[in-house]
Amino acid sequence: MRMICFASRNTKEMVRDRINLMFGLGFPVVVLLLLTAIQANVPVDIFPLPRLTPGICVFGLSFIALFASMLISKDRSSSLVLRLFTSPMTGSDFIFGYTLPLALMSLGQIAVCLIVAFILGLRASILNNLMLVLTLVPSIVLNIAIGLICGTLLNDKQVGGVCGALLTNLSAWLSGTWFDLDMVGGAFQAIAKVFPFCHAVDAGRAALSGDWGSIFPELWPVIGWAGALLAIAIAIFTLKMKSDSNGKQ
């Protein structure tokens, strides 16, 4: 009950912040529309929807990390956190209370991207669409974990720089959405392969095209990153919250 109440409050705080909401939901859609418009005016396939849509979904999820980190860092810097810490809420109430609404928002964001892509002409079976959503679950966890870590360690101004600029750019450039990483090759491709973004996009592309056998080789690195970062996030969140309340005079 306490966790649901906290999750409900967090949902309202995020949904009612219109600037965050416009960026989180609107920006990926704008990019999808823009690139599809470019595609319509060039004779070669540079941004075909079946390849572009999973990339936009992965890119859009980086805004969830921004949502999460902004909310947590603002809570930490306000006196509300003192009220929360003196209540009977437990560590798991906090973690699930932050995570649950972010997971639902992530699913909503993916749904919006798929609906817009469908309107623009994407044709894929319902099963393939569902498989895409499933393959994006580790990416959802990954971004929520990044949000928890950044929100716990950074203040709200720093969060804007790290999650709002750095993470969204990393997610965009290293995902292979805007250009084929094989074409760049070399060190850039090697670095991109270390990060989970291009693997998440390739797994999504495999799911959407019905090539299910190709999903898992790509999904393992994403699951690995997501699991490791989630464990780190929980540990840091628990320790930092305790030290924050204990250390202030």
Partner: protein, 242 residues
Amino acid sequence: MDAIEIKELSKDFGDKKAVDSLSLNIQQDTLFALLGVNGAGKTTTIKMLSCLSRPSGGDALVMGHSIIHDTQAVKALINVSPQETAIAPMLSTRENLEFSAGIYGYKSAESAKMAQDMIDQLNLSEIASKRARTLSGGWQRRLSIAMALITEPEVLFLDEPTIGLDVIARRELWHIIENLKKKMTIILTTHYLEEALAIADRIGIMAHGRLMAEGTADSLRAKAGTDDFEEAFIRIAEEEVK
């Protein structure tokens, strides 16, 4: 019965002793004011008693439960209104009240009823549907205190509840706090002498992290040998320095 039994409670921040071997008993249903200048250790004491900050030494029992070994039981019995307004800015007044009840485990229907009761009791109806961030400082403080009251705690901690408020808003809050007397144990920190005099049953004077004296206003005046409470406060607070 004692609502709070404090035994040699201490808190160190590096070399600095913020609270130094504080011992004090506070009877149930008393309004106890911890009076002291800034940095006296009042807020640190409240933070330890509300399980927000772990003591460096000593212990305290809140309604018989240790603040070190039985924190969940203590947290279920208390509520706190922090020094700065502690509200969720994007929620309405009503939603803030329901949220405060909800995080103490009350079900949705119960929380809604309790919120309405609190709105009626504290005359919050005109701001009930307004977002908290749009409220004036006085209304925000009143809401913050209402969020602490809604769970009907056995022990209520009010940390500098009227700091920064104008005279009228301060008087209104005094009236609200006075109406709570005898319904729950209230520990209030303040550096306003007139506030402690106006509403407290007993007053503890803190300075340099230590409790210098404790008693009724009259007994503190008598201890200091003066009829002027401000003079009595200064004499008691500066006792250690001399």
